[in-house]
């Protein structure tokens, strides 16, 4: 098991190197850069000399191989550079926002799992009845409703029905857990709906598949109650594929947050990413992309390891 984990961690290196190279060169083919966004943004008439001096200061006029070597060296030493916009270290910029986004992500995951597993199971058990149709419409709806619009509708409903809007100022969980939850539960719901829908569909289809297995027929034949057949015999096997999806979608939650944080005016990683994109802040974009890649790989590793724990048939050597 330990050797397996070490092997997987070593395999991360070429992947991350690939991501680092790809993102570096993708960003460098952009015609504009941050200097133009910043200096040309307000006035429009800035002399070429000023622009050149700013580029020189930010190191943008150095040859690409030099910049690339710098970037890789920084990655190895975990020094990801300084944001070209705020001039603060990107690790600081990310650090102060990561907690907020992770909290929403974890809450959304909890909401999704709590809704998805019962919903998917009910849908599979009552397959092709009106209950199944209702659940399927709800889940397909989850894939169709944009999370940012759902967020807006949630705010609108709170405003109209309770004449109350979620607070705009962020409160830390440690300072005031209730105020913190009152603020973050709504974005978590908005991104959690889609998440729940994806997982519920998976639970439904894998449960239906498992219910066709021979051992289920055996269990029924020997007179086990249907409830026990579903919950004890089938569920265990049906939930394994759902587990993969829960992990994968968790890694992808950042995508939903990119837009939803905007609606709730939250200063998280998603917001930071959109700002970095809008400002052509290459250093910050690079760092965030690496963060997403690392999260994706680590979550995949955790899911694979959990497979080994939950399913005794799988052994890692």
């Amino acid at each position: 098991m330990t050797t397996y984990i070490i092997k997987r961690l070593l395999l991360m290196i070429p992947t991350l190197l690939g991501v680092a190279t790809l993102i570096f060169f993708m960003l460098r083919v952009v015609p504009g850069d941050i200097v133009e966004v910043r200096l040309r943004g307000d006035s429009g008439s800035v002399s070429q000399e000023v622009i050149d001096r700013e580029r020189e200061r930010l190191g943008l006029n150095r040859p690409l191989p030099v910049q690339f070597a710098d970037w890789i060296k920084g990655l190895v030493t975990l020094d990801l550079g300084v944001s070209m916009w705020t001039e603060r270290p990107v690790t600081t910029e990310i650090g102060i926002r990561l907690g907020l986004s992770l909290q929403i992500a974890v809450m959304a995951a909890a909401i999704a799992v709590l809704i998805a597993i019962p919903l998917g199971t009910i849908s599979a058990v009552f397959r092709d009845t009106w209950i199944d149709y209702v659940v399927r419409v709800i889940t397909i709806g989850g894939l169709a409703v944009p999370s940012f619009w759902l967020g807006m509708i949630i705010i609108l409903t709170l405003l109209v029905v309770f004449s109350w809007a979620p607070p705009v100022m962020y409160t830390s969980f440690y300072k005031d857990p209730i105020a913190n939850m009152a603020q973050l539960i709504w974005p978590a719901l908005a991104v959690g709906y889609r998440y729940a829908a994806v997982v519920a569909r998976m639970v439904r289809s894998s449960l239906i598949e498992v219910m066709r297995e021979d051992y289920i027929r055996t269990a029924r034949a020997k007179g086990v109650f249907e409830r026990v057949v579903v919950l004890r015999h089938a569920m265990g096997n049906a939930l394994l594929p759902a587990l993969t999806l829960i992990g994968l979608e968790f890694a992808f939650l950042m995508g939903g947050l990119v837009v939803t944080e905007q609606v709730f005016n939250l200063n998280g990683i998603g917001r930071l990413f959109v700002d970095a994109i809008a400002r052509n802040d290459f250093i910050l974009i690079q760092a965030l992309v690496m963060l997403i890649a690392v999260m994706f790989i680590v979550i995949n590793l955790i899911v694979d390891l959990m497979y080994g724990v939950l399913d005794p048939r799988i052994r890692y050597k």
Binding site: T15, G18, M26, P146, I277, I292
Partner: protein
């Protein structure tokens, strides 16, 4: 009941009609989805003739008007008719949705078939590249490609926005088509074609590709929905379609959230339009999968 053999134009019509009836009976949800899609296409194509108002004309006399017989869905802060903007928005959504899904799926199919056919090193490299692309949330990838390409208007549509949405679709299409093509490659008729002297190109595109048309069509429909959703999200962030082009995501962005209380219709209707259209494409895609690909039938 044995179908009566009918010939000629009338026969074709009868057969099409029977096919449609069968589809409605077997896949009521899919048929409902198709109906919405057809209505959307009509609205988009006939936009110029069916809109009650010009979608970009500013009318300060009718700012933030509530839904009424004159303005069914109300007006926005510039007095522009929301219904007219939604109808024109269908045009934007459908054209960007269709073209990005088409480009992504078609290129992805070509690469996927080639990857499966040649195998070996080429296959390995292609698979690692798609792995790389698939480890990112699609919106993150689209944003990066978007900033990389900038914007480029061709015939009123942002070509680079279409490409930015097509890339995440492409990587997923490669994966699915490769898996399907791997089984087709082992079929005796592919070997026979090669033995009879067909070129690699001919074997790939005339003998393998036609047999992965089912997953191709399924993906094409399903990804149009995804692409519409993605376009709306990007436009909402102000990094997609730009003003004054009417687009659903754009209608929800910026200052529209200042009017939650005074003009909820500005938020309600564009979002409903996005949801309904993506919902329709998903429903139709699901039924298409049930009909065309028995392996995925659940």
């Amino acid at each position: 009941m044995p179908a009566k053999i009918t010939t000629g134009a009338k026969g074709l019509f009868v057969r099409l009609f029977r096919l449609a009836v069968r589809f409605v009976v077997l896949q009521p949800l899919g048929a409902a989805g198709l109906l919405v899609i057809v209505l959307m296409v009509f609205a988009a194509v006939l936009a110029r003739w069916v809109v009650p108002y010009d979608p970009v004309v500013i009318d300060f006399g009718a700012m933030l008007a509530a839904p009424s017989p004159a303005h069914l869905f109300g007006t926005d802060q510039f007095g522009r008719d929301v219904l007219s903007r939604i109808i024109y928005g269908a045009k934007t959504a459908l054209s960007i949705g269709f073209w990005s899904s088409f480009i992504g799926c078609t290129a992805g199919t070509a690469i996927g078939v080639a990857s499966a056919y040649f195998g070996g090193k080429a296959d390995l490299v292609i698979q690692r590249c798609t792995d790389l692309l698939m480890s990112f949330p699609i919106i993150v990838l689209a944003l990066i490609v978007g900033v990389m390409l900038g914007s480029k208007n061709v015939a009123g549509v942002d070509l680079n926005l279409i490409l930015a949405i097509a890339l995440p679709i492409l990587s997923r299409a490669v994966r699915v088509i490769r898996a399907a093509a791997l089984t087709v490659r082992e079929m005796p008729y592919v070997e026979a074609a090669r033995a009879a002297g067909c070129s690699h190109c001919r074997a790939m595109f005339l003998h393998i590709a036609p047999n992965v048309i089912a997953p191709y069509l399924i993906m094409l429909t399903a990804f149009i929905g995804q692409a519409i959703l993605l376009e709306a999200s990007l436009s909402f962030l102000g990094l997609g379609v730009s003003e004054p082009t009417p687009a659903w995501g754009l209608m929800l962005s910026g200052r529209s959230s200042d009017f939650y209380r005074d003009a909820p219709w500005m938020i309600l209707f564009p979002g409903l339009a996005i949801s309904l259209s993506v919902f329709a494409f998903n429903l139709f895609g699901d039924s298409l999968r049930d009909r065309l690909d028995p392996r995925f039938r659940t």
